[in-house]
Subunit: 349 residues, 2 copies
């Protein structure tokens, strides 16, 4: 069943619960590390369509995954806007030209994805040719999350700089978010036109905001993006890490599915919003570092917590980490498929 | 009104909303930095009762705060257990002897606070002599938070080591948590006997757990501590950072008050649990870096969100940061007192 992922996302009946993993094309795979070495560095890997295609496909050769996700990074947009991304070992993403003043925000050119990010469209087209009907997910960072990285100049403990900007100069902050909203929207449209079957918004830092700031700085802009994408008829997933308290609000912005972090109880989430949207998640990624017996127990627990009914896509509650043994991923994927078969058989009785 | 803090904690009527700030005796104060320099380092400052007393009192000389909190650190317990704490600039807390295997957990001596942590009791007694009836808060880390630091060897991005231990070897993990529960309980009892008028449990890392792990690894042990303290009749506050989804559960473990992080909407929290417990919080600490006008607007918003009624203690949603201008703290404290007076006048009509 090749359309399991898309069917579950639309809350249609499936034979087994579909599964894919955030960052499934990643450093835990030796073949990924080899290709990355060939590319020279992470960003070169993103920008070389043939190699990005290759690493996108690698996990699907090993595992019976129900979706591919295009290999890229949420920070390609600010990179294309001239901030110059580099990934520093043990530090994370760093911008050589972070946003330091409001003048820069005014000057910031909204990127034209077909021009500056055409390598992503090319990679998507290459992947689609190889995929044999397995759906491909496109993605982008939320405007807030991109803005947070752009103003901090990289990752941060408390994101004090960007929060200060949003309090001290809300007009500039909203101008930045509007520009990013336009850029993300056209970037996702380009991915859809290139062949992406679904798109996902990663709001990695929305959970660091107060509820009212979350709504005004993050959620509202994601809603605008979803509204612009609606005519294209492609299913969408929104994922705010740390957004478990705001699920009801998130469920009202028009996405087809919602990603859950591992702190959120999927049973509670289903009770609150499961009648409206599909739910994706949410195994604690740390569990992938343990044993097969523990992985089975915890995956079973999530499947049982979601219970009988359509609309569940299995995933981790955050990206898979580089130290996960690849055989644990195989075990998880196969277990989710085999165990969930019973649940779906019951639901169709 | 010297007992404003204790009255609000017990949900009794007050003239003004009481206010104190987490980490109010801290690096944002030049006199704190001077005393710390005199002590040599952070840990020496904790361990020298006269200097710990001095820095505890410093913010109360500047501001009309409704409570003092004894200057110390949650990691004094693992330090006393032999893990040897040091605080490394730009890194944070580091243990020279972290827990690396289960044998160490079995060998770990439960610290006798009156012996190894007597310096905290001495500092409390010194502070109490100076305080003139202003209440003094004692505190400790939650067993889970202490265990997380002890196994990781310091702070961490994902606390993978301690989570792996709790999945792979739950017996050892629970043995560690039990030992810490005994230590924290006797530590807080010692603080109460020395004169602390209320005690607070800081569960800094509980919010990184899945809901079921949070209950079994953190909440249950905090409940045990509260149960043991109950006969002493001293009010208690529990604070789980990132615990906003679990407020209803947290409100059932027997604390007098609950601390809220800045992500939680205090209005929602009051609706869910405000009839049971007092609420403490919850201004985003980043706001203290902005202007007086913004501080006033955001503080007013929190006071209005709590609204009319007893049981609110104003605080930040996390500790005050070193770069806050001291005059902003004065502005906040005075504004909270003056503005809240109207709210309390209305509530007694």
């Amino acid at each position: 069943m090749k359309d399991r992922f898309l069917r579950a996302l639309k809350k249609q009946p499936v034979d087994k619960t579909p599964i894919w993993l955030m960052r499934q094309a990643g450093r835990y795979l030796p073949e990924y590390r080899a290709t990355r070495e060939k590319a020279g560095n992470f960003l070169a890997l993103c920008k070389t369509p043939e190699l990005a295609c290759e690493v996108t496909l690698q996990p699907l050769r090993r595992y019976d995954l129900d979706a591919a996700i295009i290999f890229s990074d949420i920070l390609t947009i600010p990179d294309a806007m001239g901030l110059e991304l580099s990934l520093v070992e043990n530090v994370g993403p760093v911008f050589n030209n972070p946003i330091k003043n409001t003048h820069q925000i005014k000057q910031l050119d909204i990127v034209d994805p077909s021009d500056d990010l055409g390598y992503v469209a090319k990679a998507i087209k290459l992947v689609k040719k190889e995929l044999n009907d397995t759906p491909l997910i496109g993605f982008a960072g939320s405007p807030w999350t991109l803005a947070a990285y752009m103003v901090e100049g990289g990752s941060s403990r408390d994101f004090a700089k960007v929060k200060k900007l949003s309090y001290n100069d809300p007009d500039s902050m909203h101008l930045l978010l509007q520009k990013l909203t336009v850029a993300v929207t056209s970037y996702l449209k380009m991915q859809i036109q290139a062949g992406a079957d679904a798109v996902m918004l990663f709001d990695t830092w929305g959970g660091l905001l107060s509820q009212s700031d979350y709504v005004s700085l993050s959620l509202n802009y994601m809603e605008k993006i979803l509204l612009s994408l609606e005519p294209l008829g492609i299913p969408t997933i929104v994922f705010t890490k740390g957004g478990g308290m705001w699920l009801e609000k998130i469920s009202r912005i028009g996405s087809t599915g919602i990603g859950l972090d591992w702190m959120t109880d999927i049973k509670v989430a289903k009770q609150i919003i499961g009648h409206k949207v599909a739910l994706q998640g949410n195994l604690d990624p740390t569990i992938m570092l343990t044993t097969k017996a523990i992985i089975e127990k915890e995956a079973k627990n999530i499947l049982d917590s979601y219970g009988i009914g359509n609309g569940h896509i299995f995933n981790l509650g955050h990206g898979i980490t580089p130290d996960v043994p690849p055989e644990n991923v195989k075990y998880l994927v196969d277990f989710v498929h085999s165990y969930s078969q019973q649940l779906h058989a019951q639901s169709s009785i």
